[in-house]
Amino acid sequence: MRKTSVQNALLPYIFACTSFCLIPVSAGAADSLHVQNLGTSEILREEVPAFSEEGPSFVAIDSKAWEGKNLSAGELLSKEAGIQMQKFGGMGSFETVSVRGAAAKTVLICIDGVPVEDAGGGAVSLGSIDLNQVERIEIYKSYAPAKFGGNAIGGVINFISKSEAKNRNRILASYGSHNAYEISYSISHELSEQLRFSSLAGFRHSDNDYEFLDRNGTKFNTEDDTVRMRKNADYSQFSGTHRFRYLHGNGAFSNLIVTHSNDWGGNPGKESNQTVIAGFEKSLFLTKYLWESPYTNSVRSEAALSGKIDKSVSSSYYPLDKIGYNYNQYLEYGSIGYTARPEYRLIYEPSSSPMRPHGTLNLSADFEYLEDRDNNTLGSRYDWSLEKIQGDAAAEFGLSPIPLIAIDWSLSGRADWLHRSEGILFNAVSRDTIDDEQTKHFYWAGRTSIRIGKSDWPVQGFGAVAKYFRAPQTMELYGVREGVISNPDLKAERGFNFEAGIRASEKRFRNSLQILYFETHSKNGIVWVSSANFVKPLNSEKTHTRGVEVEWENRTFAWLDLSLKGTVQDPRDLSDISYYKDKLLTNEPVRSFHLTGTFHLPWQFDLTGELHYRSRTFSDRANRERVSPETLLHASLSHNFSTNARVTFAVNNISDEDHQNIYDSYPKPGREYKATIVQDF
């Protein structure tokens, strides 16, 4: 069982641990800020499953939960109550999660606290996150702590890179179906009493050449259905983080962090329309300087300055790849972005004080410049550039007026200015020009939560109400692609979240139970609306999801851990559009659950079986395209050797299921095998 230390009394210990830790990061930014706050993760098997101190909407998943189990980030997250996943293929493919009915694009994805955004205005793909380089995942369902700002109707998922708190060196290697292999290392070395160096890097690859049933897009003609091999779906990624950490004489720390990531592979297309050479390449390079003040009894601060270069380019050749633009030549289309980000954070956490007050103040700014990276006149309509300046301020404060009650408030605001350059159209009959445009916005968010009952009581109650936003993304405001119409008048999507529930635990049979009622409302949702040959983003979506999450854990027997996490919800589209109104939200089941059982066998063997179910869904807003219910079975067997080595053999999707609507089908791998060895030294 995980134990996350965040209580004030443990802060000195946390700081001591994290002060000397080196924190590599995977494909994203690096920031030790949150690792310090939340402390280290230990796998301790407790008598009674413990609840998170962060509240009922917070879940932390430790790397032990996925190591060797052949799970992608999305698959791992979808085990949790209230979270639904959508995946479009094998390793590295596009995958997203929605939280409590809030669309994937409203869920803020962070890596070490730094937001990751999709330049195209959509949801961030979780498929490009290498879990081998992640120590822990923090899930804030329908909840955005102040340090993340308020741009998160669906909440926040924060991937924390592997911590070196244990001063651990490690090598991991795995091999599995479809020539999938992973190898990574992490090392930590003290160069002097004041200077420590750590390095973490990994490479992973899959051919993704699995078999699937190609229905050829003809639902009423089964004679042309054939079993085919997935083509042009290979995926590779090399990423790493390297860090120097220096202890100053006054107790402060300086950190220099360099993160890099390269992803490349094929873009295989849909089930009945496989491509030949279409592909993509993404590159990220980030460097960051982080200063951490000496720790005092109640106040500390941190300041950082980071710079990031982020490039993403797709390619296709229409005569072979029937995707993208109908064009006879090899096409490359994409963008490159340059971002500078100063941050400052002030933390107030007295170790002992009446009513246990605590709070944080977070200030950050983003200076971003984005421009096209195309070799053609279609991927971009002209030589464009976009500039964005954004400032975020967020404050959080909490106290316990009486020992029985803890109350927290947070308030955040964002102001931004965006500018799109002018230019001459590439494909103009005459010299048509696009004028420059600029807009300014201000958004705010807030949340209040209450917890009743002491943490050591067998029963606790809780409730929270929050209002968040999702700011329109740059490409939604200023589309620059062929056939995309800009809409600089877009408003932010607004979200209103509510939750209330109880949780209880008992020691006799070692049970814990949490039942939570939630509601997620959103309005002004941005959707792409087609007219004639063009699409334009409009504020027109309105949704309402209400449901109940149940989480139960049992450790009655020393040799068996049981866990059941389920959701029953009513995810509805409340759009004024008649054919969307009252329909189920896309990809949202009414019922879903995940049952896990781990048998602790003799001789250091662990056998885990998992059952994942979700009821039927629809792949379209109007609920015409039905996807049948899905039941998946997974199993893994692991063994710990005395030499600090652990070997795991996993089988995913044992019954080889793939339920997808014929008109929206991206084949998935089906049954997969994987063997992993981890060696600590």
Binding site: T218, K219, N273, Y318, S531, A532, L538, D620
Partner: protein, 439 residues
Amino acid sequence: MNIKIKLSGLLVSAIMVASLVGCGSDSSSSATDEDISSSSELSSSSEDLSSSSKNSSSSGTSSSSTEASSESKDASSSSAEGSSDSKENSSSSVEESSSSEVLQNSVIVAYGVDAGYQSGELTFGDETSAELKKAGIDLGSDIKLVANGKYVYALAPSNVTKIDASKLSDGEAAVSKQQSIGDYAYPYDIAFIDETSGWLVLNGRSSILKLNLETLAATDSIDISAFAATTEAATASAVAGAIVDGKLVVLIGRLDNYVATKPGLIAVFDAESGEFQDTIPLNTYNPMAFAEHNGKLLVATQGTYNASYGADADELRGLEEVDLSVKKATVLAYGTDFGGGLYKLAVDNISNIAYVAVYKSYGDVPLVSFNLGTKKISTVKNIADAEGAFYWSAFSTILYVGDRSYGASAFYAYDGKNLESLTEEADALPSYSAVIASW
């Protein structure tokens, strides 16, 4: 259920009009035409216009639109003949036809697509009831319909589905055949030679396929890559086809990377062998549709887009008349007269009215009528985005037009004077394509 009616050209038309008007539905609205320009203005704008005006007024003996004409030829010769009669002799035609006591069905078959192009559904209903219900046949979200007699062909980006409209009440049992034609070949039209064969016009390929309509297998093909705007253009951008006087006539857009850099083109082939015969260049750019009228072809062109993806009211677009016998295209009216580019076209050959959807900008696509005799242009009110279904029925003399306005979509029947909403299910998708199947 389809209701059998006694059909005979204008008799049915009269019944239809009477039933539609007489229903007095709440959704009906009086659509007062709004004059855009007068015939004198048009004729003064171009010499070609005045000459064509004479031609069209002096002829007026041909049948319906291209979309309608193919059904008319195959479905009911008496109907086609009735349709081709002028208004002056229509009453005698009614009397002659009614005496024949031909039993016929004419069924509206429509395909609806949502605003996000994720969902689609097939609906159908008898023309007399003007009520559409779901067929329960899931074909995807990007479907254009064409009809030949009782068979409706659903053209999806990568396949063709043959549907027996007489069995639509039976749901999926109405699907006779479905055949893949290659990834994203984008079939746009079928020029029906007869009941057993036709030419499939592909927009996503520089080829035209001859189909066996029983098996939907390709038996022959025509390479039209020579008509592409440039060697770099992926295809020749063919958009429509029809059989006219034993010839296969194909409308070619000649787009170069989505931009109309050259005027459109009409290519003529032998309808049986596919042998190339001739080309007729158009005067304007980016043709979207054509229709047969008085032995000539009317061609609607949309022209190029401006920087905001709007269509300027200029002379790069308009309505052209093509005389195949003399191989000449003449502009009847320009975009300056219509106020934008022409996106869709249907022709009422009885009243000599060409209906066009005029694309002005995103979401602003009014329905405009063009009197082929007087050259008078009028806007039909209460339709904001006529980019959906667009079909003139020779049987009922009704124009079916889909208004896809986001949040206010409707499927209308327009008899030349009144707009009436068809009765659809509450969550019906906005109409995208429609045809009349008849037998």
